[in-house]
């Protein structure tokens, strides 16, 4: 909650998504200046909306319990969403390119199982962790290559690997659960920066978030991501290697999911085939809540970062209100659907306002026939 300013700071960047926001009525009310202001407010609108939701959630949580606004609760509730949060960072560019990766939660399970199995068979963690990360890259590459080389929809491919990876986890570990990890390892997932209530994993997330903002919004790779998502063929004709780009994004998603699996194993000190179950829902919810269009082409990483804190705060407040995890999923599902409906209602009401404004201007337009609208 104290991290909102940090999270929102890279926001003024004019992302390709925002440049498309142009309000037809802006042209005749204030010329280019009006249009610039219009597009800036278009960019800020969703993020503002998210900040307001976040503030309301914080107020609600604070009214439920004095414990809510303590550092301990901040650390505790942030830690609980860090795995899904770092996966959301990797999922964002994938959804912007118009694809989806449903297999992430199963990769969390598989990587956890492989790590546990390696540890149980005497492989030191210094060697086991890199191997698990390689497994993640391999799984992501598998997804990416099948999607791009065979031209198959990622929805089905990653639904298949969602079953495949989870099944492989069961095969690797059977019905055993490994939990005798060394304290040094579990300290990473469960520990805090000494003297503060900032979890180590939050630092990792913030580092990755900065990297994601930089890549998606400030580099040519990011511009290619948006181009591929808006119009695949146009992107290809302008020299974007769409297949290679998407394969790379899936590989990164696999790598990050494996990393999330390691963090989860460390935090819960348990390697089990059921690790990460139902995480995909939360990951996709964060990305969509953050304003990324599920059909691709639009979205910002800062929005997704805000959504991370909204989800974390919501879960924490619900816990304070005595709502169990089983019911919390109802709230997350409602939030997911509402996050798509709300901006649409906003757009429609804006359209009505614009229409009303145009209606008022119609007489003046008739007097000056040279002037055309939008």
């Amino acid at each position: 909650m104290t991290h909102d300013p940090q999270a929102a700071s890279p926001q003024p960047d004019p992302s390709p998504a925002s440049t498309q926001v142009s309000i037809p009525a802006g042209g005749n009310s204030g010329g280019t200046m009006g249009r610039v202001l219009g597009s800036l407010s278009g960019l800020a609108r969703l993020e503002t909306f998210l900040v307001i939701i976040l503030a309301l959630l914080v107020l609600w949580g604070a009214s439920l319990s004095p414990f809510f606004l303590t550092g301990a609760n901040f650390g505790f509730s942030t830690q609980a969403v860090m795995e899904i949060s770092i996966m959301a960072l990797a999922m964002t560019p994938i959804i912007i390119t118009g694809e989806i990766d449903l297999s992430v939660e199963s990769m969390v399970g598989l990587s956890s199982c492989v790590l546990g199995w390696l540890w149980a068979s005497g492989v030191p963690l210094e060697l086991g962790i890199p191997i698990v990360l390689m497994v993640g890259v391999a799984g992501g590459l598998f997804n990416g290559l099948i999607v791009t080389r065979w031209g198959l929809p990622s929805l089905v491919v990653t639904l298949a690997t969602y079953a495949l990876f989870r099944g492989l986890g069961h095969v690797v570990l059977g019905s055993t659960v490994i939990s005798n990890f060394p304290a040094g390892f579990t300290q990473f997932g469960f520990g805090y920066v000494s003297g503060t209530s900032v979890p180590w994993t939050l630092l990792v997330f913030l580092l990755l978030a900065v990297v994601a903002v930089a890549i998606v919004h400030w580099t040519w790779i990011g511009r290619q991501v948006f181009a591929a998502g808006k119009n695949k063929n146009a992107a290809r004709y302008s020299g974007v290697r769409v297949g290679a780009l998407k394969t790379g994004l899936f590989a990164i998603s696999g790598l990050v999911a494996a990393f999330a699996g390691i963090i989860l194993t460390s935090r819960t000190s348990t390697a089990s085939p059921d690790n990460g179950l139902n995480m995909t829902l939360a990951v996709v919810t964060i990305v969509v809540l953050g304003g990324v269009d599920i059909n691709g082409g639009k979205g910002t990483v800062p929005g997704v970062i805000l959504a991370v804190f909204i989800l974390g705060t919501l879960k924490s407040a619900l816990t304070q209100a005595g709502v169990s995890t089983d019911y919390q999923n109802v709230a997350i599902g409602l939030l997911l659907i509402a996050s798509v409906i709300a901006p649409q209602l906003g757009r429609q009401s804006r359209l009505l306002v614009d229409r009303a404004r145009l209606g008022r201007q119609r007489p003046t337009r008739a007097q000056a026939p040279g002037k055309t609208v939008g």
């Binding site: 031209g151 198959l152 069961h170 829902l281 109802v330």
Partner: protein, 342 residues
């Protein structure tokens, strides 16, 4: 661009169309053949496969998945997806059981209630998707957890055992007519009704029209939103029916009942040759796909193979099926291109 070229050369186009049609028709036949061969192999390896108890068990489970798969197929034909079927099944199974508990409600009324509840849940999906214009993957991912959460709320930590339910409700799980299990008769009836409706009614053709080319469908006057709404409503209704059967079949019900079955249902549809890109496929294919998955499921049991492999096999089978489709499509396109050059 390529489309207009094709339209200008009618005779090779028709030949290619016939080829495509043959390939599409053979999908169900090929899959049926695979099922028969696989069943024969399983029977050779484990003669207990053909024992009446095992046959009823495998066909009952298959029938449940097949009924839900028919609904899912309608949705996927319109180029949408319904991820929430497993939660609809679980919620209906549990709520019907709760309603029946300790009450003297006639069994047909319980069935009607369950199917109606499924219809309502499907219509809720339809409203979110067509009126509020939420993409179906997002909407049903949301209701997947909302409906499951409702089940937890209804269950309130309790579970239901067969002894809690009236015997005349759970009886049909082993009931047969002329040696055919009741569940199978129901599934076949659903497939026949849905198959005829898809092929011969305006509403059925509209599903294909919307799924293959939404703009063209709008041009010829198909109302896309009401068509998609109908698909989701029927999908929910059939998922509700599958949920009632699930409750009858298992008797033992938890808040997490039918968890993970969306995967089996979608896998059945995709393996059955319904294209995830919309506009093609049949409910017969989806039903045979369900039979194929049910057979694999059962084979692991009767052959004493490790159950852990089930999900690996599901995943591999989905990939194999969609890859085959892609391959067939590429071949057909090449054949079309060749015939155009000639």
């Amino acid at each position: 661009m390529a489309l207009s070229v094709r339209a200008n050369a009618p005779s090779p186009g028709r030949a290619a169309g016939a080829l495509l049609g043959r390939l599409a028709r053979s999908r169900e036949a090929t899959l049926a053949l695979v099922v028969i061969v696989l069943a024969a192999l399983v029977w050779l390896a484990a003669p207990s496969f053909l024992s009446p108890t095992n046959l009823i068990s495998v066909t009952s489970f298959t029938a449940i998945i097949a009924i839900a798969a028919v609904g899912e197929a309608l949705v996927i034909i319109t180029k949408n997806i319904d991820l929430s079927v497993e939660s609809t099944m679980g919620l209906v199974a549990f709520v019907v059981a709760v309603v029946l508990q300790g009450r003297n409600i006639p069994v047909p009324a319980a069935w009607a209630f369950g199917i109606g509840l499924g219809l309502a849940l499907g219509m809720a999906n339809g409203v979110i998707i067509t009126i509020f214009r939420v993409p179906s993957i997002v909407a049903t991912l949301g209701t997947l957890s909302i409906y499951r959460g409702l089940t937890y709320w209804v269950a309130n930590g309790k579970e239901i055992t067969t002894s809690d339910l009236p015997a005349n409700y759970t009886d049909p799980s082993s009931q047969t007519f002329f040696g055919v299990p009741l569940f199978v008769i129901l599934a076949v009836a659903v497939v026949i009704v849905a198959g005829i409706a898809l092929r011969y009614t305006v509403a059925g053709r509209a599903l294909y029209a919307v799924g293959s080319n939404a703009d063209a469908a709008a041009t010829i006057g198909v109302r896309a939103r009401s068509t998609v709404f109908m698909a989701f409503a029927v999908s929910g209704m059939l998922a509700g029916m599958a949920g009632v059967l699930w409750g009858i079949q298992f008797g033992q019900l938890y808040a997490s009942s039918a968890n993970g079955q969306s995967l089996a249902v979608i896998a059945a549809v995709v393996v059955g040759g319904v294209s995830i890109s919309g506009g093609s496929g049949t409910v017969v294919g989806a039903a045979i796909g369900a039979l194929f998955l049910g057979l694999i499921n059962n084979a692991l049991v009767v052959l004493n193979l490790p159950q852990e492999w089930l999900q690996v096999i599901y995943g591999a089978v989905i990939l194999l099926a969609v890859a085959t489709d892609a391959l067939v499509q590429v071949r057909a396109q090449r054949a079309k291109a060749r015939s155009r050059l000639r």
